[in-house]
């Protein structure tokens, strides 16, 4: 597991402030079956899901790329995915977060996220950033006009900035989760440190 922790720390360090061009996906209600279809869930480890991120939108039946899908369009690139409202609805499959992480996205920006997906993303060091509907529309417009336009995500200050317009918004993140992300700690470390409390609790309910 150490490698993973080191990986996270390395990632976090870069993460404190991230500036990148974005990949726009202006579709609402993108569910986890689109993010990673069920037939790809047969693996027993976390690797390789990035290749099948958005598989049914991304590839034809014969495996060739669909020209009209944004991940196949070289004009757009970057480690920030910007998506329509209610991203990640549906199943609890953490494979969706692994696929997004595996593809190379560090941040997903939307005006609304499904609950379980948001947790899963955070547990894998992918930062979900909630912006207002207006700001989201502005980002889509900016990227449409200039595919090389960038956003800056500052986790420490909890701000997201559209560098083309200079417009900025603050985003909300649970203080505990923020600490975890900044320090590369995860929930299991925390829970394991509470073993005595857990045993006391069990006695109290007997």
């Amino acid at each position: 597991m150490a490698y993973l922790l080191i990986g996270k720390l390395y990632f976090m360090e870069k993460f404190i402030k991230l500036t990148s061009s974005v990949v726009p996906l202006p579709i609402e209600n993108v569910d986890t079956d689109q993010i990673i279809p069920a037939r790809f869930l047969k693996a027993t480890d976390k690797n390789g899901f990035g290749d099948n991120l958005f598989a049914d939108w991304r590839y034809n039946k014969d495996g060739s790329p669909k020209a009209d899908f944004v991940l196949n369009n070289a004009t757009f690139s970057g480690s920030i995915l910007v998506a329509g409202k209610n991203f990640g609805s549906g199943s609890s499959r953490e494979h969706a977060a692994w696929a997004i992480d595996g593809y190379g996205f560090k941040v997903v920006v939307s005006s609304f996220f499904a609950d379980i997906f948001q947790n899963n993303a955070l547990n894998n060091g992918v930062l979900p950033v909630v912006v207002s509907a207006d700001f989201l529309a502005e980002i889509f417009a900016t990227v449409n006009a200039d595919p090389k336009a960038t956003l800056t995500i500052n986790l420490e200050e909890q701000t997201v900035t559209n560098n083309s317009t200079g417009k900025s918004e603050t985003f909300v993140i649970n203080a505990y989760k923020k600490e975890c992300l900044l320090n590369g700690l995860d929930d299991i470390d925390y829970l394991l440190s509470k073993k005595t409390l857990i045993e006391q609790f069990e006695k109290s309910i007997k």
């Binding site: 597991m1 993973l4 202006p26 579709i27 609402e28 209600n29 569910d31 079956d33 689109q34 279809p37 069920a38 037939r39 869930l41 047969k42 693996a43 027993t44 480890d45 976390k46 049914d56 039946k61 329509g84 409202k85 209610n86 609805s89 549906g90 199943s91 609890s92 499959r93 953490e94 494979h95 977060a97 609304f112 996220f113 499904a114 609950d115 379980i116 947790n119 899963n120 547990n123 894998n124 509907a133 529309a137 649970n174 203080a175 505990y176 989760k177 995860d186 929930d187 299991i188 925390y190 829970l191 394991l192 509470k194 073993k195 409390l197 857990i198 609790f201 069990e202 309910i205």
Partner: protein, 463 residues
């Protein structure tokens, strides 16, 4: 004054992180083969044991065939996942493991209640969003990701932020030919798929009280489809009667003590919810979906909304959805030809669903052009179908029975609806490709599914 949710939540708080989530103790953990292997890998990498092995119940259901379960699984990748699951159960000394073919095997949210693992007042989790099903017993039950599965295995706890609470009240009585699935699809169509995100929902009112335990499970099952963390219903005599006597239910003195506690599990008069909604059960007709999320539902005699009825930001997604389904805005769907019918899943794969379906098709014949997959939710349901004589009636009407599992609900196995084909499905998700790449899903209850299987068309079961 507390809500039912508050009472159960507060009774399970081990600690609270400052400015952060709550450490919640988990009474029952359900586990299946698809979302658990990476969690067991995590334990191995950290050198950890499972903390409370007897509190985890394991069943193989998602990635399993629904024919020839006695033979080795053909797909080598699926087989590897199932073998890994079995190996993990042995390596981590988990006694409650129910492999393929075991009488207690079946869809996780069906075998839990039917074996008495699901109790009022409990906290229940599973690496599966439809864990909300168990809320029907007056439990806090919700789906978790694989990282959280690892947390539960390692510590019997999860970290969760306290959700907001919502109460949805259904007054009055249902009309004829309407059941719990219609109620749920109606509610989701009103709330949309994100309408309850961040909330835990309590269902109340006369129409809910009158539901059987199985119908309550159908309603709570679909809570997640409107984004809710979970849904629950206060336990009452219906609940206690269902739980009593089941294999893993409390017995003797323990039963009496538990029962006395369970009877206190209701929302106090005057307790406040963050949001309240009220519907009238009489307004609900048999429901179908026309789009690619469960919120895109309508009464079976209604028409798909026209473009100007959809808000502007949602129009691209709306059109994309209708294009995928091969439907037009403003169109009526009654009378449209369909190709497949799927009766099953943790939403509608219980014995009452098979009874309702069978009662409708009795003495009739399946339409020749329809392929029907009837998949019991568990081996116990399968057994009951045979014992009650439903099997004979179904065979007589031209139907066959498959073996238990999730099957075409998520189409991880071979039960895939071909591209472009229409399936009337009693499952819970009509997402693009959910039932197979290119498959077109129309969600409905068991009666609408039965009517479609007989006529080969979308048909009002009341007609």
């Amino acid at each position: 004054m507390k809500t039912l949710f508050d009472k159960i939540w507060d009774a399970h708080v081990v600690s609270s992180v400052e400015n952060g989530p709550t450490q919640l103790y988990i009474d029952r953990h359900f586990c299946h083969e698809v979302t658990s292997p990476q969690a067991f890998n995590g334990l191995r990498a950290r050198g950890l044991k499972v903390f409370r092995p007897e509190k985890t119940t394991l069943t193989a259901d998602h990635n399993t065939p629904t024919i020839n379960q006695d033979q080795p699984v053909k797909d080598p990748i699926s087989k590897n996942q199932l073998d890994t699951f079995a190996k993990n159960a042995v390596e981590f000394n988990l006694p409650l493991y129910f492999p393929l073919g075991h009488i207690k095997n079946g869809v996780v949210h069906i075998i839990g209640p039917e074996n008495g693992f699901t109790h009022p007042g409990a906290t229940i989790v599973c690496g599966d969003s439809h864990t909300s099903t168990h809320g029907a017993f007056g439990a806090i039950a919700f789906g978790i990701g694989t990282s959280e599965v690892e947390m539960v295995l390692a510590t019997q706890c999860v970290l969760q932020t306290r959700p907001k609470t919502m109460r949805i009240t259904f007054n009055g009585k249902f009309g004829k030919g309407v059941n719990a699935k219609d109620l749920a699809l109606y509610m989701i169509s009103k709330l949309t798929t994100g309408g309850a995100t961040g909330y835990f929902v309590e269902y109340a009112g006369e129409a809910i009280r009158n539901l059987s335990m199985e119908e309550r499970m159908t309603v709570c099952n679909l809570s997640i489809e409107m984004g809710a963390r979970g849904g629950l219903i206060a336990p009452d005599q219906t609940t206690f009667d269902y739980v009593k006597g089941r294999e893993f239910a409390p017995k003797g003195e323990e039963w009496d003590t538990k029962l006395a506690y369970w009877k206190t599990l209701k929302t106090d008069e005057g307790a406040a919810f963050d949001k309240e909604l009220t519907f009238d059960a009489a307004d609900i007709q048999p429901m179908i979906t026309y789009g690619t999320n469960p919120g895109m539902g309508m009464g079976i005699t209604d028409s798909i909304p026209t473009l100007d009825q959809v808000d502007e930001a949602g129009r691209i997604s709306f059109q994309k959805s209708l294009e995928y389904m091969g439907f037009e805005a403003g169109e009526k769907l009654e009378g449209k030809a369909i190709d497949y019918v799927f009766l099953g899943s943790c939403t509608n794969g219980r014995i009452e669903d098979f009874r309702a379906f069978t009662a409708f098709v009795k003495g009739k014949k399946k339409a020749e052009n329809v392929i029907a997959w009837l998949v019991p939710g568990s081996w116990m349901v399968e057994k009951q179908i045979r014992e009650e004589g439903l099997y004979d009636i179904l065979t007589e009407a031209g139907f066959a029975l498959r073996q238990p599992g999730c099957s075409a609900c998520l189409a991880m196995n071979d039960d895939k609806v071909p591209a472009g084909k229409y399936a009337v499905s009693t499952s819970n998700r009509n997402f693009e490709g959910r039932q197979g790449p290119g498959a077109r899903t129309i969600l409905a209850g068991p009666l609408v599914a039965a009517a479609a299987a007989i006529s080969g068309k979308i048909t009002d079961p009341r007609a």
